[in-house]
């Protein structure tokens, strides 16, 4: 216990000054908080600080004004009035303290919630931006893809067009088959090669149907299946008309990714004409070599034969054995005729080449032989559609016609008909054809008829030089000679022609007939 009294004036002074300062500073705080709130209305901290400042300002007003009013009432002699006002002041103080407490409690939780919301909003924003970027990227990719697809489609169309044109216009046959060898597609050259006019007639038919030899077809398939491809497979095909086509096939298997064969595709090259030409060339070379050999031998024999003939004639005048010497002379003359024929190849042409009317040559020969042939029951028919002019030696050309007619006459033992055609080819060239209605030439000797000394006549009746000489003379004039027995064309068969010789001369100046 202390026996002192405690003066209250220091307390009153501090309360009075403190109350005034609280009011002033609280308003200053409210002004700053309002400024922050106005400039950052969506900022939660400043909302809280404004609320706190507002609560403290109200609290300061309520509490500090209480102090001031109490002093005024006390000094003015009405302290009892303070008893009326004090509960209001106290209640307001309580309310504002609670308000400040409430705001202070709520702010951290609200802040945390707002932060989470902001983070989620940010995440959503980032996700949205990422999605927009991805969308843009996808759109760009889609656009790029669309452009690329269009570009590739264009390229594909161009490529397809290019290959389709190549396929359609190719001179060689291009074909596609399924696993069984059935034709799925074939180009026009292939259709023509196999003797058809429309592709639809061919599709679905097996390529093997056209192989001349079934064994070849099986070999081709086995090889293709085993190796996956065949290169330059040579074989003989039969067209729908039965014509032979010598072809070379290069094909390869179309495979799945797994390696299973889906079918074949290939190219067929028709070598028929090429082969014929090659054979003809080989034959021509052979014949030329034989001709030169024969001519060489004939030339060497001719001189001794002349000596033998001369001495034989001298002996005939002085010797008794005239019959034997006559026989020797006859045989020597036979030899000289043979040699004369053979020397055609080595002798230079007696006169220069000149334009010759082929029809006139034939007419001259016919005038000479027709009476004899008629007596033997042979009818000669001349078919002239044009009068081509060639360049050549008229005597030798007459010899050619005479030899062909003689050959036909030999074939027509017992009568028949000989037909002669003279015409011009559209592509140029004069054609002379001589056909007869005889028995025809057997296939096995067809390739030998132009060889020297080859004859089907009995010994002593034929020299075997007629067609050989004809062949040589035609070649000498730059022409070609072929034999058909029987000919394929209907117009010849209708007339009963079994053997046809066709000579094609290069054309000279044309003389209208």
């Amino acid at each position: 216990m202390f026996s002192v009294s405690l003066p209250l004036y220091p307390l009153y002074a501090v309360d009075l000054v403190g109350a005034i300062l609280m009011i002033l500073i609280s308003f200053a705080c409210l002004e700053k908080a309002f400024y922050l709130l106005r400039h950052h209305p969506d900022h939660l901290l400043f909302v809280y600080l404004f609320g706190l400042s507002l609560s403290f300002t109200a609290f300061a007003l309520s509490r500090s004004m209480g102090h001031v009013v109490r002093f005024i009432l006390g000094w003015s002699g009405h302290p009892h009035l303070w008893f009326v006002l004090a509960p209001f002041s106290g209640a307001l103080n309580t309310v504002f303290i609670l308000l400040a407490a409430f705001l202070t409690f709520v702010f951290p939780r609200a802040h945390q919630t707002f932060r989470l919301l902001e983070e989620e909003t940010q995440q959503l924003k980032e996700t949205k931006e990422a999605l927009e970027k991805a969308h843009d990227h996808l759109q760009q990719l889609y656009r790029t893809l669309e452009e690329k697809v269009e570009e590739r489609t264009r390229e594909l169309a161009l490529s397809e067009q290019k290959f389709r044109r190549l396929f359609e216009a190719a001179g060689d046959a291009i074909f596609f088959c399924d696993q069984e060898g059935r034709l799925l597609d074939i180009n026009p050259a292939g259709v023509q090669l196999l003797g058809f006019t429309r592709k639809e007639e061919l599709l679905g038919r097996s390529l093997g149907e056209f192989f001349a030899c079934r064994g070849e077809w099986n070999r081709y398939r086995e090889f293709l299946c085993a190796e996956g491809q065949v290169t330059n497979f040579e074989t003989l095909l039969l067209t729908s008309h039965g014509e032979e086509r010598y072809v070379v096939i290069t094909a390869n298997a179309i495979e799945y990714l797994q390696g299973c064969h889906l079918g074949w595709q290939g190219i067929m090259k028709d070598l028929t004409r090429f082969r014929e030409m090659t054979e003809r060339m080989i034959y021509s070379e052979k014949m030329a070599a034989l001709g030169q050999l024969a001519a060489g031998v004939a030339h060497e024999i001719n001189t001794p034969l002349g000596i033998i003939l001369g001495y034989t004639q001298l002996l005939k005048e002085s010797q008794e054995e005239r019959e034997e010497l006559q026989l020797i002379e006859d045989q020597v003359r036979v030899c000289q005729r043979l040699i004369s024929d053979l020397l055609i190849f080595s002798r230079p042409s007696p006169q220069a080449e000149q334009p010759v009317d082929l029809k006139e040559i034939v007419r001259q020969v016919l005038e000479m032989v027709q009476p004899t042939y008629r007596k033997e029951g042979i009818e000669i028919n001349l078919h002239v559609s044009d009068s081509p002019v060639i360049r050549g030696d008229p005597d030798r050309l007459r010899q050619v016609v005479l030899n062909l007619l003689g050959n036909a006459r030999d074939a027509l033992q017992g009568g028949g008909a000989i037909h002669i055609w003279i015409y011009r080819l559209r592509r140029g060239g004069a054609v002379l054809e001589v056909g007869d209605t005889g028995p025809g030439i057997p296939e096995e000797i067809r390739e030998k008829i132009f060889e020297p000394f080859f004859t089907t006549k009995p010994p002593g009746q034929g020299t075997g030089l007629g067609l050989f000489v004809t062949f040589g003379l035609v070649k000498e004039h730059g022409g070609e000679i072929e034999v058909f027995s029987p000919p394929a064309e209907e117009r010849y068969l209708r007339l009963g022609i079994r053997t046809l010789f066709r000579i094609i001369f290069p054309e000279g100046n044309h003389v209208s007939g």
Partner: protein, 157 residues
């Protein structure tokens, strides 16, 4: 989770104080400033809630963005002074009730005094009555904090 746990602790403490005050009511003197004790209890509870809120805010303010800035330093100082003032005011209210004193109602005259002899409670009451020494600095630091915030040199929370 820590924040939630802390809230529950504060609420539990507040409830405990409320129950203690309710179960052991102080005697009602004639000179008490609040006519009815409910008003005083409500006022004391407001002080308790305010103190708890200040403690909670001080605890959480470290973790808030920009919590280390100058503005936040001032704000925390303000909260500390308000906390001291709150404790001081709470003590005054309890002593007033205990000593049946109310300096406001003695007199407004400059010569007014707390008559002797006085004990330590009277002395404590006398000292704690200078509560403006806490609340004025608290308001000042709040103003300083707001001023720093208006300068914009902070990170917004």
């Amino acid at each position: 989770m820590a924040g939630i746990f802390y809230n529950e602790v504060v609420f539990f403490i507040g409830l405990t104080v409320f129950v203690i005050l309710g179960l052991f009511p102080p005697p009602a003197w004639a000179t008490q400033p609040h006519i009815c004790p409910e008003g005083l209890y409500a006022h004391l509870l407001a002080h308790i809630a305010f103190g708890a809120a200040l403690l909670y805010m001080l605890y959480r303010s470290r973790g808030l963005p920009g919590g280390g800035d100058r503005a936040w330093l001032y704000l925390r100082l303000s909260l500390v002074f308000f906390l001291l003032w709150n404790f001081d005011a709470f003590t005054v209210h309890l002593l007033e009730r205990h000593l049946s004193l109310n300096t406001y109602y003695y007199s407004s005259a400059l010569e007014a005094e707390i008559p002797g002899p006085v004990n330590w409670k009277h002395l404590l009451y006398y000292v704690t009555r200078f509560d403006h020494l806490f609340c004025v600095p608290a308001m000042y630091f709040l103003w300083q904090s707001l001023r720093e915030f208006t300068r914009g040199k902070h990170v917004f929370g």
